[in-house]
């Protein structure tokens, strides 16, 4: 077994060391990363991938800590990928998201990984998608991705997460300016954190005004929730909404599958009807019997006979069209 195969095997068994090594590989070595992902690929797709994004200081890390605790109480295992920016000048990074998640580090049902953007744009790192796949394959029920402090253009998270939570807090400056374009549009759930502050309700109203326009034609109406991440207030309600969105996605996928099934059935039915009516018509015209005899006498083979019968029909169909 090669080193990579061993690591992939460890990931599938949920071994923490292997998970950590696999994520390092996806950050450092493109060729090896592809190999790891190909080895685990058939095991992914069971997890609920949640993206958490919003401006710096809105309380993302603190809220994630509370979300993880809530999921743990519900018996779910959780993976977290927390992304922080790389300095464009030195290439170094200070990864401090764990400060708010200290006590989670010894919980065996939780795996947290800090990741530097390494100058990848869009609010996540290039390796973030692969890290999510690794945690998924390792059997985590929930995987949460925390983006860098994001403003308007850091919307890459929608390519990774199934459910995007956009978090904002009152008093971070002009409420709506910071979030009006990109971030507003990618939110599946909107959270106004630090809701115990005095202008929280105003923030909610402002956001509501914009969301109402956005929500009009969408099958999923983005809700706004209030939380106080420090105390955990509002977090159970957030978990309920996350679950609701997951069910919604499942239904959408089911709906798409049902459409495909209906299409297959319809095509099958058309085939049957078409064949029956064509054969009936051919029999009426008498050529059918004639060709049957020719086949028996080996004057013509069945495929050529069928072609001969249908040629006229198709021409008719083509000329009619």
């Amino acid at each position: 077994m090669t080193k990579i195969e061993e690591i992939a095997k460890g990931v599938l068994a949920g071994d923490r060391r292997s998970i950590a090594r696999a994520i390092t590989i996806t950050e450092n070595n493109i060729a090896e990363a592809q190999k790891v992902i190909s080895l685990i690929y058939s095991h992914i797709g069971k997890t609920h991938i949640i993206g958490l994004t919003g401006p710096s200081g809105s309380g993302k890390s603190t809220l994630i800590e509370k979300i993880v605790r809530d999921y743990r109480r519900r018996g779910k295992t959780v993976g977290v990928v927390a992304v922080d920016p790389t300095s464009p000048f030195t290439g170094g990074a200070f990864l401090g998201d764990r400060i708010r998640m200290q006590e989670l580090s010894t919980d065996e049902g939780v795996f947290i990984r800090s990741m530097a953007t390494r100058n990848y744009l869009g609010g996540i790192a290039k390796a973030t998608k692969d890290a999510v796949k690794i945690l998924d394959a390792a059997g985590k029920d929930i995987v949460i991705v925390e983006t860098v402090g994001a403003g308007q253009s850091e919307v890459e998270i929608i390519k990774v997460a199934q459910t995007v939570v956009v978090i904002h807090a009152p008093g971070l400056g002009d409420e709506i300016q910071a979030i009006k374009a990109g971030l507003m549009e990618i939110a599946d759930i909107f959270v106004v954190n630090k809701a115990d502050r005095e202008n929280a309700d105003k923030a909610v109203i402002d956001i509501q005004a914009i969301l109402q326009l956005n929500n009009k034609e969408k099958p999923w109406k983005t809700p706004i929730l209030k939380t106080v991440a420090l105390t955990g207030e509002g977090v159970p309600q957030l978990i309920e909404k996350l679950e609701e969105h997951r069910q919604f996605l499942k239904k959408e996928i089911e709906h798409k599958k049902s459409l495909l099934r209906a299409e297959a059935e319809l095509i099958e039915a058309i085939k049957e009807k078409a064949v029956t009516s064509i054969i009936e018509e051919l029999r009426k015209e008498g050529k059918f019997e004639e060709l049957l005899h020719q086949i028996l006498e080996k004057e013509i083979d069945p495929a050529s006979a069928a072609e001969k019968l249908l040629r006229g029909k198709f021409k008719k169909a083509v000329s009619n069209a």
């Binding site: 060391r17 950050e27 070595n29 300095s87 170094g92 990864l95 530097a116």
Partner: protein
């Protein structure tokens, strides 16, 4: 094969003292030297530190301590690292550590010990020279 390995460092503060100025200065210096520095905050237990090192797959752990509890906490950390198979992680320490304790700590496997006033360049140089090569 294309490889863009970066040195990943965990800066950790075991024990109960709450002065992390030194730890933060070192963290900042290492970041500016192009490393990825994970900082986890104050009052970490040995178990938290080692588990974080494992999940973050770091090359180096820097321990900062000013409480005087290094003789109790460092052996525990080194023991846990061994237990979890993290024997290829380099450990260095800083803070208030009396001269006479240094040989004992080095025997535990702690590679470098830096007292107050050490220029950050010295620490960076030390790290670049001693960071374990991975296969």
């Amino acid at each position: 094969m294309q490889s863009t390995r970066k040195i990943r460092v965990l800066i950790a503060k075991p024990g109960l003292d709450s002065h992390d100025r030194g730890a933060k200065v070192v963290a900042r210096a290492l970041r500016d030297a192009g490393m990825e520095v994970i900082y986890t905050g104050l009052r970490q237990t040995p178990e938290q530190i080692v588990e974080t090192a494992l999940q973050e797959d770091v090359d180096v752990i820097g321990l900062s301590i000013l409480s005087g509890a290094h003789k109790a906490l460092f052996p525990r950390i080194m023991e846990l690292l061994k237990q979890k198979g993290l024997t290829d992680v380099m450990v260095f320490a800083g803070g208030i550590i009396p001269e006479e304790d240094i040989p004992e700590l080095k025997k535990l496997g702690i590679k470098g010990i830096f007292g107050p006033g050490t220029p950050t360049e010295t620490i960076i140089q030390f790290m670049l020279e001693n960071v374990p090569k991975r296969t």
